[in-house]
């Protein structure tokens, strides 16, 4: 909106005014037109005249209070004047006579003074003034906002308006006007940056008054409705400015409470979100757009979140970083963290869904990074958040769905850090592969052997006839005579229409219920699960009767279907291939900038040695639990201290940098002290607790260290060379700052350093104090201390002392760590030696080891590598780009030696692993990490899982399988690769599932009846997702038993103890139990064989809904599982085929 160009309608000079004096009664619109038509001189006269009249009242009224009439008079005259002013043209860039007069006589100032004197009419006058300014700013043809005489009263007015006033009726209107004017000012500023200076540094040197319009806008950040929207728009304009004018950025970051307010507001809004969401339907797994619209609070929160996102996008780096910092410390850690760990399962589920939604909503890399860092490395109550999230994959309620969805979102980001934490960290050492096979990780499956294997695993029960007759015509058993789209489409080579058509029929990616984001991110979500065989294709059962009933049954359901159904012949494999290619290409492209190809050599297997190794180290765990625990705390804190000092140094560098940035106009000199204040404040606020904790940790470590080393001293010496050598080099790091100087300096602008700082900050006290209010309070305090910036001097001196204390402590911590180092490594060596001896013995049978795994409570499964996850991740994230040896060693130094591995299943069998001989490979126990383990565990239970869970699960795995990196690809898709006995491959898992399904199918009488029905249901589901307009027959899904089984599932609490007595539960087998995958599956089947058959036989024909909801649900789950498994295998096969072909594509993995 251009304020110096007036709308052209008013532009006409030639005419002479007829009437020089306007009467108060004259209408506003009419008079303005008249005025505009008059010649400048006349206008000037009229203007002076009005002023005189107004002045009469003003002068008289200065003593006593004015009457309403008086006020009216003044206001009216003033309005007329302004109208004249607006119409005036400048003369060669100089002010016209009216403006000149106005400036000279300080008309605005006088008026403003008078207004502020009128207590009785304050609101009204404020409003009037705002209106006048609005008019002036938006309409004037001359540049007004550079004149002090204009700005000063304007600012005064603004300030007055901002004063808290009693909740009057007009306050909202006033706010609206105020924000409007502010917005206009911002618009002007962004168009004409000259003005910026006049607004920025008018009076106060710093503080809110320094950039008043900015400060005034801040309170409206979170307001809903048009006011808030306009305020946010205005702020964004200023943010954009800050990117160009660094001093603005500095001001915002250092002198304003913009970032804190924004972040705190986020917390506030979050706290008003519904704590529980009632899922609209059974297959709900993520918040969708419609959910957002339905929940008003959520909409508000998202508005603010998106505003943050926008700010991060446009603002000055300082502002951006600060905002992110506050979001991290003020929202993520203290609010979202606890929210994810509430007691109520529903609340946790809701919070997880929120997190998922947020991750999908934000788009700015820096912000995403903060969120990811939170998810990946932050802890709550000493437990890594990521860890608890992973644990929930095994959960049994809706939480499972939501968690899977969250992980799908994460995996779908193609983010190296995420994948590193979830997957690659564990795969890099290659411990899961047989030693002799490790070189084969990169091998490509050129001849589709894997695909063949996958396809061969399709459950017998849903395989079509081998059907020799249709074979010559098409792949699928398309019934001869029926016009099949495939066949017709085939005549045109490569016909897109064919693809499109069959897509619309069976498996379009879009039928996914796309949550929120428009992009096809969840393409494969509900897609693989399509069913694409003809109904005629009956299970390969001998019993003709069975097949007959099948078709009869389907007839019953919908008579029209069978004919139509015949047209979904198996065109789908092509769909899968196309889809696979699209996903692969997109993923490969997205991952092109990853730092390493993850092909088993880069990074080298020993790159992450520090993580898995410890898992071996605790072969003799039982004794050491306490010791390791305390050691852990010692490690943790020492690490804190270490990185603290680093941060400290970075910080001081930053101030140096600011100083050297001195070319910043005037206020530059103000900043350094401020930033010092910031840091010292935070330090002094947070430190005490941290420091004391640190001390405690130290002691513990000190106490523990020696005993540890004495307890196992076997080959400590030799190991010392190996292990601590790196750490010792790292130890020498702190003293010579010269080296780091550059590095730190360079990463100064990096978010990482910032976040590292944050991490430390709240590792201390806050993270454990969970309540929202508390954390908000503390944040508030922080803010206050930030904004009130007296005594910077003392603070900085205080800071120095704190600093000194810290660094000395850090030294302590490190040395204590060093002391424990050898102890650890000696552990390692003992374990190694035992394993060496054991390696001659036979490998443990896979079953036994897997039993070990399943015997563990799921929690421990998820729990295990947690500690090192965070730390390894942290160091890695700290230096994602420059992975110098230096960094590596630091990583090692910081590693807490993963005490969490105590419960790791792998550690049980550690001693029994054959000892790898390859030089570069670690001898750690096979380990695929908690995430993959959880996912696989869940997969193994596919038969018992609900349909929806399986849909999400399979799509998650397929998405993982789309990553081009050989380590992951070979792990999931290469069936030729031989894994360590304790590691189950995907193929093994799926074969066992298939086994179960087939067994179940054989023992269940009407399974063959259910299969086609289930197909039909899936088909209908697909159609409803595709064409939502059609009536959703969702309720048919379980044949009318929809809600009942669901309830059963929900109420069933997964309790680990039960599992032990599983044998007792012979008949009534518990349907879903996380973790009890394998062994239990067998038993289940036995159950079926034993009791189920006869039982089932009795009421075979009809769906025996009435008998037992549990049985019923189990049956349906199994049926859906069979179908899903078939489709899933096809999808995997397609992915595997595409991998073999895509590999050599340009830019696949550029190394």
């Amino acid at each position: 909106m251009s304020w110096f160009k007036r709308s052209s309608s008013v532009r006409e000079d030639g005419r002479v005014a007829v009437n020089g004096q306007s009467s108060p009664g004259q209408g506003n619109g009419g008079s303005s037109r008249d005025r505009a038509d008059t010649d400048p001189d006349t206008c000037f006269e009229v203007f002076k005249n009005h002023w005189q009249q107004a002045l009469n009242v003003i002068g008289a009224g200065s003593k006593k209070t004015c009457s309403n009439d008086d006020v009216e008079t003044v206001v009216h005259n003033f309005e007329q004047m302004m109208t004249l002013l607006v119409g005036e043209e400048g003369i060669d860039g100089m002010p016209g006579p009216i403006l000149h007069f106005l400036l000279e006589k300080e008309v605005l100032e006088t008026f403003c003074n008078w207004c502020s004197g009128q207590r009785d009419h304050q609101d009204k006058l404020c409003m009037e003034q705002l209106r006048v300014y609005e008019l002036l700013i938006s309409q004037s043809r001359q540049l007004l906002l550079i004149h002090r005489q204009v700005i000063r009263p304007l600012l005064r007015l603004l300030m007055a308006c901002a004063e808290p006033r009693p909740p009057g009726s007009s306050s909202e209107e006033l706010q609206f006007r105020l924000v409007l004017v502010l917005h206009q000012i911002c618009t002007c500023i962004s168009q004409e940056t000259v003005i910026l200076e006049s607004f920025f540094s008018t009076e106060a040197d710093h503080g809110p008054a320094k950039f008043l319009i900015f400060s005034l806008l801040i309170p409206y950040i979170h307001q809903e409705g048009p006011i808030g929207q306009r305020a946010r728009d205005a702020l964004l304009l200023l943010m954009t400015l800050s990117a160009v004018h660094p001093h603005i950025g500095h001001y915002i970051a250092d002198n304003s409470d913009f970032c804190p307010v924004l972040a705190t507001g986020l917390s506030g809004l979050y706290s008003s979100l519904p704590r529980k969401i009632t899922p609209p339907s059974d297959d709900w797994y993520a918040l969708t757009e419609s959910d957002c619209q339905r929940i008003v609070d959520l909409q508000m929160f998202l508005n603010s979140l998106e505003f943050c996102n926008a700010v991060v996008q446009v603002a000055h780096p300082l502002v951006r970083d600060q905002l992110i910092k506050y979001i991290y410390t003020g929202f993520l850690v203290p609010v979202l963290g606890p929210a994810l760990h509430q007691n109520s399962r529903d609340e946790v589920m809701t919070a997880t869904a929120y997190l998922d939604l947020f991750l999908r909503r934000i788009s700015e890399p820096h912000l995403i990074r903060a969120f990811l860092r939170f998810v990946l490395t932050e802890r709550h109550d000493e437990i890594l958040i990521l860890e608890s999230l992973i644990t929930r994959i095994s959960s049994n309620s809706m939480l499972n769905l939501v968690s899977l969805s969250l992980f799908h979102t994460l995996v779908d980001m193609n983010c190296e850090e995420v994948m590193f934490q979830l997957v690659f960290k564990y795969l890099i050492p290659c411990t899961h592969v047989m030693v002799s096979q490790r070189r084969a990780v990169r091998d490509l499956d050129l001849y589709g052997k894997s695909a063949e294997k996958f396809l061969s695993l399709r459950p017998v029960c849903c395989m079509s006839y081998p059907s020799p007759s249709p074979a010559p015509q098409g792949l699928g058993p398309a019934p001869t005579g029926t016009p099949s789209p495939v066949l017709t489409g085939r005549s045109q080579p490569l016909s897109r229409t064919d693809a499109g058509r069959s897509a619309s029929i069976s498996t379009p990616a879009e039928l996914v219920k796309v949550p929120t984001r428009g992009q096809p991110r969840r393409r494969s979500f509900f897609r693989s699960k399509k069913e694409n065989k003809t109904l005629e294709t009956l299970p390969e059962f001998e019993q003709k009767p069975g097949s007959d009933t099948a078709s009869v049954a389907s007839m019953e359901l919908t008579t029209s279907i069978p004919e139509e159904a015949s047209s979904f012949s198996e065109s789908c494999y092509t769909e899968y291939l196309l889809q696979a290619r699209a996903v692969l290409e997109q993923c490969a492209r997205a991952c092109r900038n990853w730092s390493a190809p993850y092909d088993g050599e880069h990074p080298p297997p020993d790159a992450v040695l520090d993580h898995p190794v410890p898992s071996v180290a605790y072969g003799n765990i039982a004794v050491k639990v306490e010791g390791t625990a305390s050691r852990e705390s010692g490690k943790d804190t020492s690490k804190d201290a270490g990185s603290d000092t680093a941060v400290e140094r970075q910080r001081s560098n930053s101030t140096v940098k600011l100083l050297s940035h001195g070319n910043v106009p005037d206020p530059g000199s103000v900043h350094p002290p401020d930033s010092l204040t910031l840091e010292s404040q935070t330090n002094s606020d947070q430190r005490p607790s941290g420091a004391s904790r640190l001390g405690g940790g130290d002691n513990a470590a000190l106490a523990k260290g020696p005993s540890d080393s004495s307890s196992s001293s076997v080959i400590a010496d030799r190991q010392c060379n190996k292990v601590p050598s790196s750490s010792s080099s790292a130890l020498s790091q702190p003293p010579p700052p010269s080296i780091d100087h550059d590095k730190l300096h360079s990463c100064l602008h990096d978010l990482d350093s910032f976040l590292a700082f944050l991490n430390e900050m709240n590792l201390s006290a806050e993270s454990s104090s969970v309540s929202l209010e508390e954390s908000l309070n503390s944040l508030d305090n922080l803010l206050k201390s930030l904004t009130g910036k007296q005594g910077a001097g003392q603070d900085s001196s205080a800071k120095k002392s704190v600093d000194a204390a810290l660094s000395s402590r850090a030294q302590d911590g490190m040395s204590s760590e060093k002391r424990t180092g050898p102890a650890q490594s000696s552990d390692i060596s003992t374990a190694t030696s035992t394993s060496a001896t054991a390696s001659t013995t036979t490998n443990p049978a896979p079953t036994s080891s897997s039993q070990v795994r399943t015997a563990l409570p799921p929690k421990s499964l998820g729990l295990n590598p947690g500690k090192d996850v965070s730390l390894g991740g942290k160091c890695r994230i700290l230096s994602p780009l420059n992975r110098t040896p230096d960094d590596m060693s630091r990583a090692f130094l910081m590693s807490p030696m993963s005490p969490g591995f105590l419960m790791s299943p792998s550690s049980y069998s550690a001693g029994l692993r054959p000892l790898p001989t390859a030089l570069r490979y670690s001898n750690a126990a096979p380990n695929i990490g908690p995430f993959l383990a959880a996912v696989f565990g869940r997969l193994e239970g596919m038969v018992q899982n609900s349909l929806y869970s399986n849909l999400l699960l399979t799509s998650l795995v397929s998405r993982l399988a789309a990553y081009p990196h050989p380590l992951l690809r070979s792990f999931l898709l290469n069936v030729n690769l031989v894994f360590q006995p304790s590691v189950k491959s995907l193929v093994q898992v799926l074969s066992s599932v298939r086994q179960k399904v087939d067994n179940y199918a054989v023992t269940t009488r009407n399974f063959s009846v259910l299969i086609p029905k289930a197909r039909l249901n899936l088909k209908m589901r697909e159609d409803t997702l595709l064409f939502p307009s059609q009536a959703p027959p969702t309720a048919d899904f379980f044949g009318g038993q929809f809600s009942k089984p669901r309830a059963a599932t929900m109420s069933e609490m997964p309790s680990e103890k039960k599992k032990l007595s599983l044998a007792d539960l012979f008949r009534r087998s518990p349907k879903q139990k996380p973790g009890g995958q394998r062994g239990r599956g067998q038993q289940l089947q036995k159950v079926q064989v034993g009791g189920g058959v006869g039982y089932r036989f009795i009421n075979s024909r009809r769906q025996d809904t009435s008998d037992s909801p549990e049985e019923f649900l189990k049956e349906w789950n199994a049926v859906y599982c069979a179908l899903l498994l078939e489709e899933f295998l096809k999808e995997l096969a397609a992915l595997s085929l595409e991998h073999s072909v895509l590999y050599y594509d340009e830019g696949y993995v550029s190394s």
Binding site: G448, E452, S456, L475, R490, D498, S1140, Y1143, Y1144, D1145
Partner: protein
């Protein structure tokens, strides 16, 4: 599919008597279809949508044999592309992924400036079957090239075809190598072998003649009726320029693509 195999070998034998029919034979027999195509053009390769595959299931019970086979071929072809064998150009047949049309340009040595069309026929149980069959359209004068059929004895280099170890590009490399490192042991063309050993001058002469004939043969339409067979047409300025321009442009595009 074994039938296809048999017939192709038959046809090639038949060819040995009369070269021209052989290609058409193999083409016709390669079962139908058309849809495969497009693709494999030089680096652009592999656009082929497998989907268009016809042919009933062969391998295993899965019924997905054709997919698997086609992907195997695509993977092999990718490998070939990666090898960038100098002077070797290959375009899979439109009719069957198991037949590759190719061109070999010899750039130095005795056979310098010789250009030969060839056909690589892959057994349909590849990679578990026998060696692929390699035959030049024109039986160039060479100890290792059958003077009648133009076949090169690939088996000699790959006595036992080993999957994952031996690849199709190696066959092509071998076929190329015989012209640079001429061997005469157990020759298919005895005359050539003898001459090479005893009268190099005359051998050269024969080769020169053979090269000339080969060139002429090259300009004639290929014996195969395959739409993707490689054809030569006389050099014309505008066509050349246009093609060159397109190639250059497409290269740029490709690069942009990859940096995207």
């Amino acid at each position: 599919m074994s039938s296809a195999q048999d017939s192709s070998t038959e046809s090639s034998e038949a060819l040995s008597s009369s070269p021209s029919p052989r290609l058409s034979g193999s083409g016709g027999e390669g079962r139908q279809l058309p849809s495969i195509p497009s693709s494999e053009l030089g680096s652009a390769g592999r656009g082929n949508k497998p989907g268009s595959k016809q042919v009933p299931p062969v391998r295993g019970t899965t019924g997905y044999g054709p997919f698997l086979q086609e992907y195997s071929m695509m993977a092999e072809y990718n490998q070939l592309q990666k090898q960038k064998l100098p002077g070797v150009y290959v375009m899979p047949s439109a009719q069957s992924p198991l037949v590759w049309n190719g061109l070999l340009f010899l750039r130095q040595g005795l056979y310098q400036s010789c250009s030969l069309r060839f056909i690589l026929t892959i057994p349909d149980n590849y990679p578990d079957g026998d060696c692929p069959d390699f035959a030049f359209e024109f039986p160039v004068f060479h100890p290792m090239v059958d003077p009648l059929s133009g076949r090169v004895d690939v088996k000699r280099a790959f006595p036992k075809w080993r999957r994952n170890v031996n690849h199709l590009w190696q066959v092509l490399m071998y076929a190329r190598k015989i012209f640079y490192k001429i061997e005469t042991k157990a020759p298919l063309n005895v005359e050539a072998a003898t001459l090479y050993e005893q009268d190099t001058e005359q051998f050269r002469q024969h080769v020169a003649e053979s090269i000339q004939t080969a060139k002429q043969r090259l300009m004639q339409p290929p014996t195969s009726d395959d739409p993707f067979a490689l054809r030569f047409s006389p050099w014309t300025e505008p066509v050349h320029c246009e093609a060159k321009r397109q190639m250059l442009n497409s290269k740029v595009l490709y690069r942009q693509d990859s940096t995207e």
